[in-house]
């Protein structure tokens, strides 16, 4: 068996494994722990320079309450949802269609189109910032939720198509041929055979795109100006304070802002079913 179970190794190795693993874990989680601890620290601690020590008292309740009272974070979170959910639906939905087309149909420029989708992913998006801003301004989409959604969806569809095309390509092609011989239309083949089998891919991609778009800061600051449009990542700026940075509030807001992607993961978790195509072909 490979890898060899740790229980079968010599005692000294087992012991050091068990001792080192928690240490590695803590080092790994240190940034997250730091943010969590800071978010329950009273502001006086930070003023006194107690950045990494034990908090002098638990100030979690007042910090988190103050985040919601002193900023429009609720509104910004709503904005984030308004941007992220349509983007996920748009990008994943479109890529199911493009992925199906590229995986199933043979046409002359199939590979060329596919490589264009792939190549788009290699363009660093920073160099697109100015053209995209100009474009959205002229289209009247600057500083609108629609603009953000359209831009994010367009940008994410490339990667999603790569993902979906390869996933569909790995499905047994005989399933599609079999349905064709039975006289099932192409749309019904997509809807009733391919789409149900893509569930794990759709779930995985949704979580990925949700997290990515939710956490986006770059486009949120470039394409959103007004508070009506600003997503939570950009909106947190408000908590910076006029004269000093209120780290205890910013960290508390970060934790709040990080919750939806985590929730999304657990929500989608049951759809990550391995071996959905089990039994389709020989066994």
């Amino acid at each position: 068996m490979f890898p060899r179970p740790i229980q079968k190794s010599p005692p000294w190795l087992q012991l050091s494994y068990k001792a080192l693993l928690p240490v590695a874990l803590v080092i790994w989680l240190l940034p997250l722990i730091g943010i969590a601890v800071t978010s329950v620290r009273p502001s006086s601690d930070l003023a006194a320079g107690n950045y990494f020590g034990w908090p002098s008292r638990f100030a979690g309740v007042e910090n988190y309450a103050s985040v919601f009272q002193n900023s429009n974070i609720g509104w910004y979170i709503l904005n984030s949802f308004k941007v992220t959910i349509p983007t996920v639906i748009g990008a994943v939905g479109l890529s199911c269609l493009t992925g199906f087309a590229l995986a199933v149909y043979k046409f002359r420029l199939n590979l060329a189109v596919f490589f264009m989708f792939v190549a788009g992913n290699f363009v660093p998006f920073q160099i697109l910032a100015i053209p995209v801003r100009e474009l959205t301004l002229r289209l009247g989409l600057y500083d609108t939720i629609t603009g953000l959604v359209l831009f994010h969806a367009a940008f994410q569809t490339g990667f999603c198509t790569l993902f979906m095309r390869n996933f569909i390509k790995a499905l047994p092609f005989a399933l599609i041929e079999s349905a064709r011989v039975e006289g099932v239309s192409e749309w019904k083949i997509f809807r009733h055979i391919v789409l149900p089998l893509m569930r794990p891919a759709i779930a995985a991609l949704s979580v990925l795109i949700f997290t990515f778009v939710w956490n986006d800061y770059f486009w949120a600051t470039i394409m959103a100006q007004s508070a009506d449009v600003r997503p939570v990542t950009a909106g947190m700026n408000e908590l910076k304070g006029q004269w000093k940075v209120a780290w205890e509030l910013i960290t508390a807001a970060s934790i709040v802002a990080a919750l939806p992607p985590v929730a999304m993961f657990f929500l989608m978790q049951k759809h990550f079913i391995a071996g959905l195509t089990l039994g389709a072909t020989k066994g």
Partner: protein
Amino acid sequence: MADVTLRAITKSFGDVRIIKGIDLEIADGEFCVFVGPSGCGKSTLLRMIAGLEDITSGSLSIGGREMADVEPAGRGVAMVFQSYALYPHMTVRDNISFGLRMTGHKPADIEARLRRAADMLQLTHLLDRKPSQLSGGQRQRVAIGRAIVREPQVFLFDEPLSNLDAALRVQMRTEIGKLHADLRATMIYVTHDQVEAMTMAGKIVVLNAGAVEQAGSPLELYHRPRNLFVAGFIGSPRMNFVAGTAAPAAHGRIEVVLGDGARVLLDGRGATVTAAQPVTLGIRPEHLTAGGGGLRATVRLAEYLGSETMFYAQLADGSGIAVKADGLAKAAAGSTLDIGINPAACHLFDKDGVAVIHGDLTR
């Protein structure tokens, strides 16, 4: 009527010709088996009949209708795939009825057809299972059920049994045979297994490198192979081929001198040779006997199968020869074996591999 007629059918992928002009007539209700080595184009030909591959040139008609440009669904065919191709997220019931539901059949009609197919294939108690909960043989039956409910004119099978174990394969073979007797539909069956072909077929089509080598009934192919390829492909263990020289002899007979000097006198049966010429003598292992005069060989390997004994031996000129002897025959490796040869069972092939004399014992 659902006879299938192929006229000068060809298929090319770019410059490569996969199917090189095939003419074939399959009668209504016939069980026709395409057999041949890997890559001979038998699956491609089947997929062309199904409409899953384009026909480069030639004409295909099913039941008298030209089908070359008709969509797969419009051809009245149903196909059973080697991999079964069951929809993994659907129950057996949904798998079998999917095609009917998607093409607007009435629910009562679907239910009736489903019941009939399930009864025929003993699937009734499995209707609510998913494919992953079925054994290989059950999956195969579901795949066949999916074909039956469409009530097609022509059934197409693409190596349907090659994923099953030996015992199940024999069982499914008889089930498909029974199905053919019950449905009386035209069936075209692709396999690389010549035992399957011999046992199931009404007509065998031997394909090699994209062309038909010979088409005929199983016994016709066994007794009267048209050339070396068919002679070597049909029959198990395969026919022995020994190189020699043929020369005319008295009374219309032909004398063949084999590489090791042994002489075999064959009845010409109308065939003549004008002068000495190189030939290949073909004789099946089951038509040779251990003991008796004729050939002398050195045993290399003996297989005792109980019911019979196989001797793999070597003639003086180095060519190998297999003998299927009685189950009680014994010979040690390295010992000398006298092989009796029945001239009436000998096939003779000219230097191009075309049969000159058929060793047809049924005449």
